[in-house]
Symmetry: D3
């Protein structure tokens, strides 16, 4: 998310087949509030050193690990309460979640879990630590989707695309391991080339070199139709 402006808390690498988050230990209480919070399912075998390196590349301000069990994620009471605490502690304006349809069950569950926690975090009576806070905006990242879904909008990432790829390359050894095991890329496609193609495809939808696609449920507001981008014809 750093490529968009100021992803202050954490990062989500959106790649065609999966989504990762850096597996630090859960360290509440957080004293730093952020503009943008990206919640992502992660793989617990990613090494912390590599995650630190990727975060440095992206300039991420803060990384947290909710401590929920990889491949055993559940949208249950304790998980919701933990995410509510995280949201209340970091006080984000925008929260980015995985799109609820994907390959790994954790994507579906993380998406629903994150959505529920965003609402519950704003209820004064909800029994979790922290002052009530409801994020203003909830967005869903589409970039790891393989099949075409019409995005609600696309953000131009042409200027920061190479940085995004560089950050992803920090995880090379993990990818190689998972690829060897046939877990992440059983199709034999090249990860970095796939990321480039899909980002270029979404970029072409807004007539730019590279784009990052998002979905949101609510209606978009436009303030001045004369300022709209993307040539129609």
């Amino acid at each position: 998310m750093n490529e968009m402006r100021n992803a202050d808390l954490t990062l989500q690498f959106r790649i065609p087949h999966s989504a990762f988050r850096i597996p630090d230990a859960w360290r509440p209480p957080v004293t730093q509030t952020v503009d943008l919070l990206a919640i992502a399912a992660h793989r617990d075998d990613l090494r912390a050193a590599e995650a630190e390196r990727a975060a440095a590349v992206l300039g991420v301000a803060l990384r947290l690990n909710a401590g929920l069990p990889d491949a055993h994620l559940q949208n249950d009471e304790p998980s919701r309460a933990r995410l509510v605490e995280l949201i209340r502690a970091t006080h984000p304006r925008v929260v980015i979640l995985p799109f609820p349809v994907g390959r790994h069950p954790d994507h579906r569950i993380a998406s629903e879990l994150g959505r529920d926690a965003c609402y519950l975090a704003g209820l004064a009576k909800y029994g979790a630590a922290g002052a009530p806070h409801r994020p203003f905006k909830v967005l869903y990242a589409l970039a790891y989707r393989e099949d075409p879904v019409k995005p609600s909008f696309v953000v131009d990432i042409s200027e920061t695309f190479e940085t995004k790829l560089e950050a992803i390359r920090c995880y090379a050894s993990q990818f190689d391991g998972a690829r060897a095991a046939g877990e992440i890329f059983p199709t034999g496609q090249d990860l970095y080339e796939l990321i480039r193609v899909q980002s270029a495809h979404y970029g072409s939808l807004i007539r730019k070199a590279y784009g990052e696609p998002f979905f949101c449920n609510e209606t978009l507001e436009v303030q001045d139709v004369l300022q709209l981008g993307v040539q129609s014809l």
Copy 2:
């Protein structure tokens, strides 16, 4: 369109059941270029004096009549050539068309005709008067739709809504005539109340008092997700 910023050429009253344009005579060549061009099917029995009054209320800069036959509109060669000339003469950046699905056949035909003319106006070899010009953006007005269609975006018109209603009231005698004949509002619903309800409904989608809904085929570009309006939860 005036309520959005600077509808320089003409106006389209978006009302639940129909759409109108002021029936002046066709006066090429036009020497004035505009930012925004609204093309609408009209009724040829509207009186020019009332149209002038409505335009004055809205502050419309220029009104033109393409001289195409009401209720006999065709998407044929001569009609396309005439619209191409109009577009080349006024050089608009944004063109607003009726949504192609509506009650009156003229809506469907005007929508397709306007869309085709926008493309053809940019072809150097297309045999019509004027220098090639292709509008940057083509939008479809949804407000006269009765059934719910998810708009691509909604524009906040809370501040100018009463002006819009005042302009529509300039046509009161026409509406009364058509209403008496059972043509425009055979359902017996009150026109002004319907306009208020639908504008308020679309406004509620962006959490505003009144809104104007639009549809566009191409993907929307957003530059900064932190600046997005419309609270999610």
Copy 3:
């Protein structure tokens, strides 16, 4: 539901942002059977006195509280069993559920939970109290949805709309409290005006003053096309 005919058991106020049920204690066994059962997620801080007053306004015959935990609702075995018992005890022909997509997680869960219970209540071997009974019809209430979804059908509530609004006003102090906390209406929109606008919008779809929208999964049967309402053109 009272506004439609004879909501005998309970009530669901369908408002743009939420849905409520009266929080009485669970009092099985019920000896009264009903035509129509509305199952809704509720807020446990609503006072019983106000709920009684609202029920009196609507003429609701029976109110029950399933005793499930607010904001902690789960579609689990015990919850399903409790709802199965409620359905078997009251023997409804029609069950109205929240639409499964909404702001509060309880809406999604209550919808799925209610749907599952309606099916399971008809299985003779399902281990819950009461004789097997499967409701004939399951409908989903759409009125609290903010974004446009095409309803399967709309019911004319023009004659009873003011009664509906009066019943909702019984909860004024709750709304004020929740509004002050930014929980229910964080967008700052006026509750009663929103209800009026959305009901008028849905009413306009059937050419009536006010309408209540519903969704159902199965195909609609029409017995005589000559008796169909809602003018097409």
Copy 4:
């Protein structure tokens, strides 16, 4: 349409691959008004004697031929004017049209042409013979569609299905001729068996033996949810 109640004017056999109308000569002015008008593209090689026999089987009150050229149908001014006259002369409450997507180009054109004429027939100033009349309801017949489209509603035709089949059998010699030429049923499927299967399929959607599916653009109104048919679970 006879099978539904009182198809007074004409008939449309809705069969999986095509739709027919009886090719009488155009005989204006018509002095008989009707409740229900079915407009269908026809094949000009159908013999009048067989059409008379089929009409007798169905009890159709009136058959007319608009005199438009088979396989050369156009949605142009003269065709619209002729249909407007027909609609004004017969004054129908409900008009049934082919669904606009089908195999034969005439289906698409007849559907759009009929829709336009229904609207224009109500305009006092439209230059065609007859007093203005706008049909109350426009429906689209889905039965000849091969691929699944969700119907807006289905009508139970269990009691009259055999009569429908008997009427279609009146055209046996035509079908045999077209089938021999590979025009109508090039797939080699049996016509009568297909009609039975598709009617039974649509019937199953409303839990009846045979059903006739329709599509309509506007929202359906339901007066009493307790009277709704079609068991949900």
Copy 5:
């Protein structure tokens, strides 16, 4: 599935209202690998003798019972682990699941549970018995759906349809019992006639006598467009 080629492991009778599997005891470890695995929700009151007879009719190679509780199915950790073991043991290339939308809650849960297990079975670190194996293809059976959903593709079962019906008839006594209780066919429709109608309907979509419809999420690959079946016009 036998009707398609070589359903080696188990069987799923796809009938309009429900789906069954033979309720043997869970017998790990399995030493036989299969091409095709059909996972279905079942009813635990089906007698083993009848299931054996049906399997013999179909020539099914292997039947297994996962031992999960009927009408109490949950997509939880233990259930997922058990299915992962089953998938790893039988090593299928193709897995067929119920479509996630259906009447019985078990359909939805079995579909999601099976989908999750297919992914997790391929994760080397997932803590369940057996070597990692991820099925190549996951398909969803649509035949028991009542309402029309466009299938991704249909398989011609004309030659084996009577065998399928014969196998279903092995369960006649169960069906009679459930029907008497109003559980399975409360609508009063005849089971075997419904199966015949729906199979013929899906067959007509590919211009064949009987067809079996499937849905899959990923894009279909076609190797030679000249070899495509199903006449377009």
Copy 6:
């Protein structure tokens, strides 16, 4: 189409913004029949020499020009008759048409015109030269679409992709001219890079390097689910 197997008649370069055909003079009667016919809107300023060179690169057997006016295309009687003659003369099994939604009006009209001609060509009584012939299969090319539409299927073109690009490069001077005039690529995107990105995007949907997407209206038939390509997870 040559890249798929044996495009015998003509070629359609599917590029993001337009589609072309070689502008030879119309030379009936054709004595050569073909397997595959691609009908495309073209630009009449393409030079014949370049078209010949591109055809040689692709190994196209036969190129024809229907002689219809560029940018003035109409779906009228004479145009349909001319295409019917072309189809009857070349006797294709598969016809590929532009997808009906695109930038240039000619795309929409060519698509509908081609579709109508395919049906009419099979009617014995349709008054055009040649013996009746109805193509078995009608497909729509999606590759020039900018916005995401889910294809019915994708064909692997990895092995022939460079040949396709080489053929397109034969038109370089035309593209440069149109690009200079701002007609074809007013967005400033690079044509060849766009073709590569979109082909790679569609290829990724079937887990291949490059793919060509198609849409068809009828249901797909699959003969053996064990032979299906494209890994699900």
